[in-house]
Each structure stands twice: as C-alpha cells, then as structure tokens.
Amino acid sequence: MPFTFIVSKALRFVLTLAFLVFGAIAASPARADAVDDALAGFTTDKYDDTDKAIQGVILSGAAMGGAIFDALGAGRLVFDPQSKTVLYKDASGALKLAKTGEPAPAELAGKPLKTVRLNNRLRRAVEAASGAFELRSPDRAKRIGAAKAIFKTREPTALPSIEAALAAESDPKVKEILTQARAAIVVGKADAPEADRAAAAATVAAVGDADALAALTNLPADSPPAVSAAAAAGVAAIERWQSVANVVQNLVYGLSLGSVLLLAAIGLAITFGVMGVINMAHGEMVMIGAYATFLTQAFIADHVPALNHASLVIAIPVAFLVAGGVGVLIERTVIRFLYGRPLETLLATWGVSLILQQLVRTLFGPSNREVSTPEWLQGSVEILGVSLTWNRIAIILFALAVFAALQLLLRRTSLGLQVRAVTQNRRMAGSMGIRTARVDALTFGLGSGVAGIAGVALSQIDNVSPNLGQSYIIDSFLVVVFGGVGNLYGTLVGAMSIGVANKLLEPWAGAVLGKIVLLVAIILFIQKRPRGLFALKGRAVEA
C-alpha cells in the first residue's frame, strides 16, 4: 500500500515506547496499577481518553498489549459501562479480561457491553502500536507488514526497534524489507554519516515505488551533496520507470474497462448482432442477472452459509438461467411476431425494458442492493508498480472465457450453424428442416442469458439497482456497432480498443472531456470504416 501518512505525535510516542519495550528486556513485569489506569481510559467513550489509554497500555508494558490492540483494531475491545471492566473477544469470540487474558467471569458475559469506538486518528495509532508489536511477531507476514509500514512512514524514532528487529531476524525476505525500511529512515537522518545516507539512498531507490520516491524527494534541504546526488539519481530512475509504468498501468486499466464493456455487450452481439433484434431491453437482462446474483447470495447466506464464499460462482448459472428464461419468454410472446420488421423490435423491446425496470423497482425497491465481494476477490496485486485489483483480473478472465465459450458454440456446434442460418434466411432455413421457432427462442435466450452472466460480473463493480441496465445499453450498442455487427471478434476487439482508448485519454483530458473525445473519435472512425472495425466484405454483404 503505497501511501504515506504523517505521523501524529501520539504515533511517534508509541514507536519510541515500543522500542523501549523491545529494546529492554521484553518480559519486564508490568506495573499492575499502571495497567489499570490505562485500561480505565477505554471506558469513558471519549476519543481523547481512548488515545491516552492506548499510550498507557504501551507504557505500562501490559502483557496483553498485543491482544488488546488486535481486538481494538478489529472492534472487539469492549467494556462494561457499570463496572468499567475492559474485556476483549479473541478471534474465536471468547470473552476475556483485558488485563490478564483470563476468561471473563460469568456474570460479565450476560451484560450489555459497549464496544470501544475508534476514529481514524485512533485507528492509525492502534495500527502503529500493533505494528511495533508485530515487528517481533512470530507470524512472518505480520513482520513484513510492519516493516513495510515503517518504510512508508520513515519515522526516525522507529530506527532502534528496526535495528533490533534486524539483528534478530533470520528470514532473508523479511530482512531485506527491514533493511529497506531502515534505509528509508537513515537517508533522511541528518546526524547519520554521509556515506551511510548515500548508500541508503541507493537502497531506497532500488525499491522503486511511490513511497521510495516520497522518501527521496522529502529529504531535508541541507542534506550533503553526496546524499542529494544519490537521491537525485534515485528519483530520476524511479520517475523514468514510473512514466513507463504509468502507460502500462493505463493500458491495463483500459483492458479491464474493455472487459467490462465486452461483458456488457456480448449478449447484445447475439440478440442484436446475430439476430438483428434492436434489443433495447438488453440492459435489463444484465440487471436481471445482477438481481439474480443478489438473490442467490441472500439465499445462500440464509440457508447454506457454508457456501458463502462460492455464492458468486453459483450465481453464474443461476443468472444465466433466470435471464435466459426471461429472454425466451420475451421471444415467445413478443419478438417472434416481429421477425422481418427489425425496426419494430426497437419499439417493443423499449416497452419491455420499461416494464422490466418498473417490475424490479416494484419487487425490490428503488434503492441499491448489496452484492458482496467474496474475500478471494478483494484486494489487489502489484507487479512492478502496475497494480490491478483481483476483481478486475477476475472480470478480464471471465469476459474472455465467456467470449471463447460463445465463439465455440456459434462456430463449432450444429446449433450455432442453425442459429446463423435462421437469422440469415428464416423461411429457407425452415425448408431445410431447421426448427426455426425453437432456434429463435434458444438464440434469444442465449443472448439474454449471457447478458445475465454479465450482470453477475457487473454486480461486483457497480450499483445493483433498477437503473443498472440503462447505464450500459448505450455503451453496449456502441461496442457492437463499432466492432462490426454480426462479428463476435469485432465485439471483442471493439470493446478492448474503446476501453484502452478511454483509459489513455482519461489522464490526458480528464474523464468528461476524455469521453467526449472518444465519442467524436468513434464517429470519425466509422467514416473510415462504415461497417465497423471488423467489417464483413464482399458480395455476401452488399447483396
């Protein structure tokens, strides 16, 4: 996490003390009354008192400090407002006394306990406090996290604890990060030897991320020339890399946006691109998919919580079937009377879209519904300064998979052949023995089902509300048409190029102007290729 934050006085204090705690004999007996005093601060429900209590706990060297800060950070530190006893729930939910870590007496367990509240300032203090504890944690990941946090803050007072931790560390990876953290502090430390500082500058520069850049640019103005020079070289190197990384980052964002567009548009590429139905209700199919996801999650959470983490995956077939079913229904009741009159499908599907929107609004209410992101999709990865969130990666992969599956279905199966035959010449297809009505219903159902699947993915990044579909319908048509109607590859390439172009334009022109420029560019591009990116050519089309 490449941010830096300014360290409040409290934090500096905490770090110094942490050093004291670890620098001295780790298990010095805690002064009992000091601990009590400190804990009392948690029970007043005032931020300033809580702040003091945090410092007090560290100062007192309380044995349970680590557990207390863990609990505090996670909102598990509680107190009994009457007896002013402070307790915490451990990770398994068992109630323990904060002072000793012993199980809470039974009479406290039944009482209405209040949680110790935090605000951002305190939350940072807690993080830092437990960070200091964590430098020596047996958990490797926690040590790494703590060291990285210090690299960001470059808090000089943390130097002794870093050095102590460094001396005790055996894991090479942790050691490396500790060394970097140390370097980040040393490089700005006016009283360190010049050579050390210059070397530290190089170490920091090698990290190469935004924090490193911040460490090197925020040196005191009176730093000796050798240090400044080393830092300047580092800054130049990082900036050079970052300008490359920026472009790559934007490309990656573009692909990610492109995948979202692809997912949103691909169902339309079937109902509109292949079947020729100007399907204004396409967005609503996406919306239905998203609501199906919401319902699936809610159902699983209520009935089979064991599957919670898989609910999103389960929602995929559910959304496909629900949206596909609705699609078949619409085809059988409305669309099938309109083949050969494509313009009227515009009117009818517009009507259908209004009805579906209002239906969902009536059933689920007008406001957003919460679709949660499973844990395995949260967070992000960073590779060489280019970061991407897991859910975006999932969407990219998912979009490509859906695309490949569809392409296979349409190109390699007899159903695919029949679909194309029927849409090209319905009457003649019938005379070839193709069950046109069935194929029509299946095709429309397929397109709608795929739109439903898109809804599953979009529920992860956008509102699940009755308006969801409306916000994608224009982009979807744009993508399908830009790519070339009736060509699935066109839709793929169209979506990706619009996504990338958008993301390359955005930093340069801003989101609003960028979008305008993009639209104008598309208009102009169509002049060059009046039948889209992947235009079909030849007599077959002109006839």
Binding site: G273, L343, L347, L359, T423, V481, G486, L519, I526, E542
Partner: protein
C-alpha cells in the same frame, strides 16, 4: 396520374384540426370565463404547446426515418440546439433582473466568476438572430455530420449509433459548466420574450398559436417534399440505396438535403418548446430522449407524417396522464402500450385506422425493408 396527392383526406383533417386548435384554444383560454365548461385551463395551454412542439420533432424525424430510412437516434440534439438558441435569447432578455443583477452576464456566469460574455453568446440578445441560429445551428451540424457520414456511406445501424454518439457527446459537453451554457442546470428562469412576459397567459396563448401554425407549416412542407419526385427518390433510397445509385442519383446529396431540412425543423421545434416549458438543460440531449422521439413515430405510424405527429401527441399525453394517476405503475402502462402497439397495430395508429376504414391509402408507404438492412448482414427475411 400521381400516386401521391399533395393533401389527402387524413392530411386535410390533420391540418384542419391543428389550425382550429391554433385559433380555438387560445381563444377559449383567454376569452371564456374560467368556470365555463369550454374554458381551457391556463396550465393546459403550454402543456398542449409542448405536445405540439414534440409533434413537430416527430414530423422531422419521420421525414428522415419514414421516408429516407435514416434512423436517427440523435434528433433530440437538433431539437435541443434549437432550444438552446432560444434559451440564450431568453437568458439575455433577463438583463439585470437576474439574482446578481448583472446587466450582461447571466446568473450562472456571475456565479462561476466569469468576467465577460463568451463570444458565442454575442448577438443572442436579438430575437431575429436567435431565431436564425435556432435553425442554422442544427442545420449546420446536420449538414457537417451528414456530409461526412453519407459520403462515407455510413448507413443503417452504423449511422443510427453514430447519431446517438453525437447526441451523447453533446450531452456530456453541455453538462460541463466550462462550456458556458449553464451546465446541468441549463438555462431557466426566463422573464420576457419580445418584451412580453413569458408567464403572461396571453403570451402563452400566442406561443401556443405560433407552435400550432409552425406545426401546420412544417406538415405542409414535409408533405410537399414527400409528394414531390424527390420524395420518391428518397423512398427508393430507403428501399434499395445502391440501386438508386446505379440510376445516377447521388444518394449522399439526397440524404444530406433531407437530413439537414429535418434537423432545421427539429431546431424550430426546440425553439418553440423552450419558452413554453421554461427550461432547457443538457438532459434534452440524452440518447433516451431521442429514442423516445423515434418511439412516438413508430407508435403513430412510420412514413405517414400525420401518424408521427399523432404518435408524439398520444404518447406524451399518455405520459402526462399516467404519471399523474398511476405515479408508481405508469411505466407498466406505457411499456405495455408500446408492446401492444407493435403486436396489435404494427403500422401504428394511422396505419391501423386506415386499415380499419378499409381504405388502402396510397399515400401510406408500407414500411419498407429496414434501415438496418444494410447494417445487419443477417437481414432476416419476412416470416410468412
């Protein structure tokens, strides 16, 4: 003999209705006492005026879509541009009566710290200039847009979608406060038009009458165009564009002529619309608005002119009515209406009416092959 009469029965009826509206409604509103059964209530006059302005937009759209096969999903943009031109005039008429009392700058400029009037606002204090611009700007945009697109032979859905992209881009642009058109809030709080208070009932009546006359005029104009030989060429283009080329017609010029004319009509409609509804803002540019205009035409009957106007009137009146009596269910009603229209009366209101009367009206062009035919390669053959 000619297959098209300049005015057929339905056309005459339509003209008669519109013209008598132009006279009777203002008269009844202004002259009859409010408690008379025939009195048209005050609030209804601008409302009807709004419908008529929409009817004009529908007429313009039907000209390009119904007859030339250009499915424009961006006609709302021309309408809105016309509206903005008029809105700018009305803004300038406010003068120093704005909240900040600045004699030159409209309120939103004062408020965003603008120092002087941007150049594109110059001249809009003159009514004639604004009116000219209400026609010229949409016309020019349509001309430039069409010049590019028709020459490159962008047809069918491709054209539809870029018209949509056009109006979408304009919407985003007008939303930006930096553009100098009042951003999201648009132009509003008008005071006077030609020194008459826009809120005076007589002004409203006059505006209504003007709109009705303009509608009648545009109907005659459209009718004249479609019954001329050019009308036939344009229909030929709609049905078999490349065949028309092989006969030596420069398809792009024909399309451009009709498209530009239609955009100018839409601009006039927009200019008449704004003083009656009292606001113009970028949401007029939303693609959904343009699509809705297409829907009106389809409901009324594409390629019939009268139908387009009727459709606009019917759908909007329905909307007014439904949103009042069924505030939380009206989308069901409206959506159902659209679906039912396509299924039960595929040729729209006018088509259904003439079928019912058993007349095969020669002036009704059967909806020809789709404008999309050239776009969607998978042009489905009629299911028979």
């Amino acid at each position: 003999m000619s297959r098209y009469r300049f005015l057929d029965g339905a056309g005459l009826l339509f003209l008669a209705v519109v013209l008598s509206m132009a006279v009777l409604i203002p008269a009844s509103n202004l002259l009859l006492p409010p408690d008379s059964a025939l009195h048209v209530p005050d609030y209804l006059v601008p409302l009807l005026g709004k419908y008529l302005a929409f009817a004009m937009l529908a007429l313009a759209l039907d000209l390009v879509w119904g007859y030339c096969g250009i499915l424009s999903l961006g006609h709302g943009a021309f309408f809105a541009l016309g509206g903005y031109a008029m809105g700018m005039y009305l803004m300038r008429q406010i003068g120093s009566r704005g909240v900040y009392g600045n004699p030159i700058l409209p309120d939103f400029m004062v408020f965003l710290n603008w120092q002087e009037l941007p150049w594109f606002w110059l001249g809009f204090d003159h009514f004639w200039f604004a009116t000219m611009m209400a026609v010229a700007v949409p016309g020019l945009l349509a001309f430039c847009f069409g010049w590019l697109a028709f020459r490159s032979r962008v047809t069918g859905v491709y054209l539809s979608i870029i018209t949509q992209a056009m109006t979408f881009a304009l919407m985003l642009a007008f939303f930006r406060n930096d553009m100098g058109f009042g951003g999201n809030n648009g132009l509003t709080d008008f005071k006077e038009i030609l020194s008459f208070s826009v809120q005076a009932q007589s002004t409203r009546a006059a505006l209504f009458a003007a709109t009705a006359l303009a509608l009648a005029g545009s109907y005659l104009l459209c009718r004249w165009v479609v019954t001329s030989k050019l009308g036939k060429v344009v229909v030929a283009i709609r049905d078999a564009e490349s065949r028309t080329r092989f006969l030596g017609y420069r398809v792009e010029n024909y399309k451009l002529t009709v498209f530009t004319l239609s955009a100018m009509l839409a601009g006039v409609a927009g200019a008449l619309y704004v003083p009656q509804v009292g606001i113009i803002n970028p949401s007029e540019f939303t693609p959904a608005n343009s699509i809705e205009a297409v829907i009106w035409v389809a409901v009324g009957g594409r390629g019939t002119l009268v139908g387009a106007a009727l459709g606009a009137f019917a759908v909007n009146a329905g909307k007014t009515w439904f949103t009042g009596v069924l505030p939380s269910l009206w989308l069901f009603a409206l959506g159902g209406l659209f679906v039912a229209t396509t299924l039960l009366i595929p040729k729209g209101i006018v088509g259904a009416a003439s079928d019912l009367l058993g007349i095969r009206r020669k002036s009704d062009l059967p909806a020809g092959p789709s404008a999309l035919a050239s776009g969607a390669p998978a042009e489905p053959t009629p299911a028979e």
